[in-house]
């Protein structure tokens, strides 16, 4: 799986660090380091008010930091 978090200025100010840190932790806890290619890109061109842009295998999502756990469960763990 390819997981990309937008780390551009706009998403950074909306909490991309918290999103990245939580995802990093979840990937570690679930030992998915080898199956998820986790990367950051400066601007996915999907700037949205209050939310951080994330791209998973070509599909776009926009998340609040507190939505990371449910995103991870629904989109990654359940589809493994």
């Amino acid at each position: 799986m390819k997981l990309v978090v937008c780390v551009g200025s706009s998403c950074h100010l909306r909490g991309s660090r918290q999103v990245v840190e939580r995802l990093r932790k979840l990937i570690e806890e679930n030992k998915l380091e080898d199956s998820i290619e986790f990367s950051g890109i400066f601007c996915l061109n999907r700037c949205q008010a209050d939310r951080v842009s994330v791209k998973l295998d070509g599909k776009y999502f926009s998340l609040l930091p507190e939505e990371v756990d449910s995103f991870f469960q629904d989109e990654i763990m359940s589809k493994k």
Partner: protein, 475 residues
């Protein structure tokens, strides 16, 4: 709205703007010979002996805007016909000498170089004089003056500038560290850096609106002290309007460097910084035995550029900063894979105006990637503060970072001499070739005391407050 400090900057800017405008329009070949006349119209000279010389010099500026002399590997070039061949005779007695009785000048001279003629006026024997300047200091009439060249003065530590057979300034590329101090100091604008504007325009145009590949602008933290006529957010909007995909702070690279350099310092015990390319070059050329002390980290520019390319393999990175030495650094084999082009703030201004972008009427875009500590790299002392913080954040209580901030290449030299004698008072040399740090680089629009205050102000509003947090934002 004042954009530049001097008329010299304005002339070079005009040449760069005209070249860029034609390059965007694909009309450079047709227009190139007309550009000097466009900048100096009419028949009345305002700068030199005649408009023909003025235009001849502008033709040279156009050439530099297009990349300069390809056979000269140095990025700093002398425009020989613009050099006024300033007198460089050293200390001389002027007509102000009153022929006094005290003869303090003779008294103080350790080389017995001063005698008196039949009218009791002092004479300096140039075969004995060592230009120490003591006589000039003690003369009650200030009658002894030092005739030196501003370019040679600017280069007094590096000593890369001399006179050629026609008395014009000549730069020894083997000694030059491309700091650009001479560019700012030459009152005739006879020394300039090569410009890579055409390469930058080509990279942007060939990206076809960032569809073939994405073009990233990596901006130096000194940007917060420049473009004083506009808001920083408007400058960011302007950069994007030129056709860049996005703008990234080199200061985030500085955070990454601070974190890794702090570790390297603890491991090695003694270290010098590696972020100023002119300083690194100076160590290589003058203190080869100390090269191992130079941090093995890439510069902040190259560090963040490497991250961008590793995560977006088609990316093209253009660095925009205050520095002429970066124009050398990006061509080095260890940096070339990550940085595709380097521009200065002066060149960015020319690009704005070549596209007639009125940035003061633009919306403010965002720029926030780095921490306070990454941003203060732009001014002298900032890197030292960041290293102390970096060591603190690692949490090693047994090791204390003792930085020696060196403000300007003369201070760097003194610290390196001390290091070579194992007498450095500290364990980390912050080497900054420009006095004041990057905010006084040769490629800036405006210099002055306010630049430091502006950088500090912008640093304090960074969202991330620690180096660790800042680095943690990247997957």
């Amino acid at each position: 709205m004042r954009k530049f400090d001097t008329k010299i900057q304005y002339l070079q800017y005009r040449a760069m703007t005209e070249v860029s405008r034609a390059a965007w329009n694909n009309t450079l070949q047709e227009e190139i010979l007309d550009i000097p006349r466009r900048i100096v119209p009419g028949n009345i000279p305002t700068m030199r002996c005649c408009v023909y010389k003025e235009r001849a010099i502008l033709a040279e500026r156009v050439k530099l805007a297009m990349g300069g002399d390809k056979s000269n590997p140095n990025v700093i070039e002398v425009i020989k016909i613009a050099c006024d061949e300033c007198p460089a005779s050293g200390y001389e007695v002027t007509d102000s000498c009153r022929g006094c009785l005290a003869h303090r000048c003779q008294e103080v001279c350790k080389k017995d170089a001063i005698t008196f003629d039949s009218k009791q006026k002092a004479q300096i024997d140039k075969t004995k004089c060592i230009d120490c300047g003591l006589c000039a200091k003690v003369c009650p009439y200030n009658a002894i003056q030092n005739h030196t060249r501003p370019c040679e003065n600017a280069c007094s530590t590096v000593k890369a500038i001399s006179m050629d057979e026609s008395m014009a300034a000549d730069i020894d590329g083997d000694k030059c560290i491309a700091c650009g101090a001479c560019i700012y100091q030459c009152p005739f604008g006879a020394i300039m850096s090569k410009s890579y504007l055409l390469e930058a325009i080509d990279i942007i145009k060939s990206s076809q609106n960032n569809t073939k590949y994405r073009v990233y602008a990596i901006v130096a933290p000194a940007i917060s002290s420049q473009f004083k006529y506009a808001k920083l957010g408007q400058v960011i909007s302007g950069i994007k309007a030129l056709g860049f995909h996005t703008v990234v702070e080199a200061a985030l690279g500085a955070d990454m460097v601070a974190a890794s350099e702090a570790k390297e310092l603890i491991k090695k015990g003694i270290l010098t910084s590696s972020c100023c390319p002119a300083f690194v070059d100076y160590v290589h050329k003058n203190f080869p035995k100390l090269v191992d002390y130079v941090s093995h980290n890439l510069s902040p520019m190259a560090t963040i550029a490497k991250y961008i390319k590793e995560n977006d393999p088609t990316a093209k990175n253009i660095f925009i900063g205050p520095c002429t030495a970066k124009k050398v650094e990006f061509q080095k084999p260890e940096v070339a894979p990550y940085i595709d082009c380097v521009l200065t703030f002066e060149e960015l201004q020319a690009l704005f105006d070549s596209k007639e972008l009125d940035i003061v009427n633009m919306e403010e875009d965002l720029l926030d990637n780095a921490s306070y500590f990454g941003r203060i790299f732009a001014r002298s002392g900032g890197l030292s503060d960041a290293i102390v913080q970096g060591v603190k954040e690692i949490g090693n209580a047994d090791f204390v970072a003792e930085p020696v901030p060196c403000n300007g290449i003369a201070e760097c030299r003194r610290a390196l001499l001390m290091l070579s004698r194992n007498a450095l008072k500290g364990n980390f040399i912050e080497g900054m070739a420009c006095e004041g740090g990057c905010i006084s680089g040769a490629g800036i629009l405006t210099r002055g005391d306010k630049n430091k205050a502006d950088v500090d102000k912008h640093s304090k509003i960074a969202q991330e407050k620690t180096i660790t947090e800042s680095v943690s934002q990247l997957p």
